[in-house]
Amino acid sequence: MILKTFIKRLVPRVLEDDISLLSPKTVVLRKAISHSGFKFGLLLFISIILLGILGPFFLDISPYQQDLDKRLLPPVWIEGGSWDHLLGTDGNGRDYLSRILSGTRISLTIGIGAALVGMVIGVTLGVIAGYFGGWIDQFVNYILTCQLALPGLLLAMTLVFLIGPSIPVVIIVIGCLHWTLFLVVTRSVTKRIAKLDFVSASNAIGATKLQIIIQDILPGIINQIIVIFTLEVGVAILAEASLSFLGVGIQPPTPSWGLLIAEGKEAIFFQPWLIVLPGIALFLLVVSINMLGDGLRDIMDPKSKLE
């Protein structure tokens, strides 16, 4: 409730008749406020981030501190659990809460990093292909087909195998495999924008191609990119989990969620919390990011009306 009034203050109240006169930014902001899915996703996302970043400061147990005498303790609500280890311990006797919390940072780093890499590749190629068209477009299309036809997970495995697993490698490899959506969308939007009259107008006033791309085309596609970006963050986090599951992802003892799930796999029948807890964390994060992305898509879509 407090939050609601707070947000309402941020936005100037506009008379009913003036809605069409709002600046684009205000319109987006107002739509954001009225979009419940977006708000929920954002709230969840922010709380996960806060927990992940601030959480470790409040815990005096390091995620790496092992105690082999206290292995596989169950969480506090299961018989045998203790308040010392709220979520129990893992196979090496490390505090699971601490590991999950510090895993947030790693999963997010990988998700955001990989999505960034994918974005740079996809958007660059997409803008170039969409704006210049012709044989450049055909060539980019060829690269795209190559990428799509390639079984991604296999390539990722081979690549990580080749370079040796580490966080930057995993980020780059996942990023290099998740740019197609950026490319496809950027290209089609660029093509659409490039046909619009204001691009012709920029051409006529003597703007260079670079100026046109940066000033006219990029601002037009940025909304779409943000939306895809959020979705790709979720995809990348899951991809890392899959790689870790196959044993070519993040290196232990670094606690990425994918790794925690992979490590807890064999205990799934007897210490299910080992896989369920990071699974829930992963699920919540991906859900929040997806809701955020879906919400952004609705909000940024000029077609969607104020509801």
């Binding site: 809605i19 006169l21 600046s23 009259d197 012709s200 920029s202 006033i205 000033q215 037009g220 009306k305």
Partner: protein, 540 residues
């Protein structure tokens, strides 16, 4: 049964963040059987929405919030959805729409769509009978080669043919009322005339009443007995067509008529300079490659064929033609936005491809048709207008600001618009901004590609006046491209009529219009619905 349709105090609102906002109110209408009613108004006046409401086709955020619609004493507003669709949609009331290009389902054949529309109200009819019915309808709308048409898909037909199919679709269940929503606006003038004649004829044959919606008084006057004039969601005047055209009671109606009269009269004071050829177009050709289809070879489309002409300094020249005639391609080639396959263009005796980008920008500037895409929605108006100067890199930021403000004044916009975004502006205001952007570099040639065709008549009038004034003030050369003879008449001294990428006729506007030589020009002229001012002059 004396009345077939009565609408009382209809009210339509749009749902918004805060609540409902009325967009149509106090809409009353009474339609006698067999009468023809025209509703005229500018875009946003609520004419289409009222009719969509009648047919339950309103978009999701828009709702009927009051009033009643009686058809033969049945209130359509309270009726169950099922009953309405079963008894009325397509059966008692049919509707045809503005865009024939998209109003037919692209994935089904014409025959199938007709058959289905017939079957929905006539269950259990055999396939043969329904096909027979479809054929007879295609015959009724005067389509040729009916057997072939039945098997064709919408994209294989021309716009006019599609509109005929849509009419057939609307009439297949012999409705009592036909609502036609701007059915000819998207069509070329020559086709427009035929369709109007067809509608008139079918109304007689089928004994239907007609509600015809249009923004164009000229068109309305050809098809209606009565007229309703709408503005801002309200009816402001209604009466018999003849009466209203002769002596409108309201100023707004008069204003509408005045614009038409003015254009009809033409512009006697065309400014001319000495005859120095400013731009010469020599034998240009341009072909486009059509995109690949799965099972067919690449096709080429010749957009411009061997076009040559020249324009003199300070002159205004019009290029006239229907859609797809290649006039826009010519404009783009002159502007350097496209390159011809062959031929050359000289500006001040210098080939255009030798002129550098900045220099060209100071010589030629374009103005485009669509006010909604001509401004980058992400930039402020101020930035849009000053950007040409910023790109030229020769001006201080102060100079740029002053120039931009000056330009805003020149196109009669308030200086406060400097910080606005395009989506906060109306279509006419946007078009003014794009003129300001074009003029800030003080170019010698303006290429106006249908500068007014997307605007309402009254706005169109203002923009034409503005262009006319600027031409006088700044003595620039103008090439105007249009499909609208009246605009051309008002603004240009010379005229080039273009068809299928070739020039079919050229000469002084007055001469060409009064005494057209080619049959195509004659056809073009005959299909314009003119409304002549009464002998007694209303305007000075």
């Amino acid at each position: 049964m004396s009345y077939s349709l009565i609408i009382n105090n209809l009210e339509i609102s749009v749902k918004s963040l805060i609540g409902y906002k009325k967009i149509v109110s106090d809409f009353n209408l009474t339609l006698h059987p067999g009468r023809k009613l025209g509703i005229v108004g500018e875009s946003g006046s609520g004419k289409t929405l009222s009719m969509l409401a009648l047919n339950r086709l309103l978009p999701s955020q828009i709702e009927v919030t009051g009033g009643s619609i009686f058809f033969n004493n049945k209130n359509l507003n309270n009726m169950e959805k099922k009953e309405f669709y079963r008894e009325f949609s397509g059966k008692k009331i049919s509707m045809i729409f503005q865009e024939p290009m998209t109003a037919l389902n692209p994935v089904y054949t014409i025959g199938k769509q007709l058959r289905q529309a017939f079957l929905i109200h006539n269950k259990g009819i055999s396939k043969k009978l329904s096909e027979e019915r479809a054929r007879s309808m295609l015959d009724a709308v005067k389509l040729n080669r009916i057997e072939e048409r039945m098997r064709q898909y919408p994209h294989q037909l021309s716009g006019g043919q599609r509109q005929r199919v849509l009419i057939a679709l609307a009439l297949i269940n012999e409705p009592e009322i036909l609502i036609a929503d701007e059915p000819t606006t998207a069509l070329d003038v020559t086709v427009q005339k035929e369709i109007l004649e067809l509608i008139n004829e079918l109304c007689l044959n089928f004994k239907m009443s007609l509600i015809f919606i249009s923004h164009d008084l000229g068109v309305i006057s050809k098809v209606s007995d009565e007229i309703i004039v709408m503005k801002d969601g309200k009816i402001i005047e209604e009466g018999l067509t003849k009466k209203i055209l002769k002596s409108p009671k309201k100023d707004y109606t008069l204003g509408l008529l005045k614009c038409l009269w003015k254009l009809e009269k033409g512009n006697p004071s065309l400014y001319t300079d000495k005859e120095v050829p400013f731009i010469e177009v020599k034998n240009i050709n341009k072909e486009y490659q059509l995109p690949n289809r799965l099972f067919s070879k690449r096709k080429k489309l010749s957009a411009v064929e061997d076009v040559s002409f020249s324009v003199f300094k300070g002159e205004s020249v019009a290029i006239v033609g229907e859609s797809g005639s290649g006039k826009t391609t010519i404009a783009k080639i002159i502007n350097g936005l496209e390159y011809p396959d062959s031929g050359e263009i000289l500006i001040n005796n210098c080939p255009i491809n030798k002129i550098d980008l900045f220099e060209r920008a100071r010589l030629i500037q374009p103005i485009f048709q669509d006010p909604y895409s001509t401004l980058n929605p992400n930039h402020t108006i101020g930035y849009v207008i000053s950007r040409p100067l910023i790109i030229q890199k020769r001006f201080s930021s102060k100079e740029i600001y002053h120039n931009a403000i000056k330009m805003l004044k020149l196109v009669e916009l308030p200086a406060t618009f400097f910080y606005r975004f395009p989506n906060q502006l109306s279509g006419g205001q946007r078009q003014r901004v794009s003129i300001a952007r074009a003029l800030i570099l003080e170019p010698q040639l303006l290429i106006c590609d249908e500068p007014t065709s997307a605007l309402d008549v009254t706005i169109q009038d203002q923009i034409l006046d503005l262009l006319e004034n600027l031409k006088k003030k700044l003595s620039i050369t103008i090439i105007i491209i249009s499909h609208d003879i009246s605009v051309v008449k008002y603004l240009s001294k010379r005229i080039l009529v273009i068809k299928d990428g070739k020039i079919v006729e050229s000469g002084f506007t007055k001469e060409v219009l009064e005494n057209p030589q080619s049959s195509y020009t004659k056809e073009l002229l005959s299909s314009v619905f003119r409304i002549f001012p009464p002998k007694r002059n209303f305007i000075n």
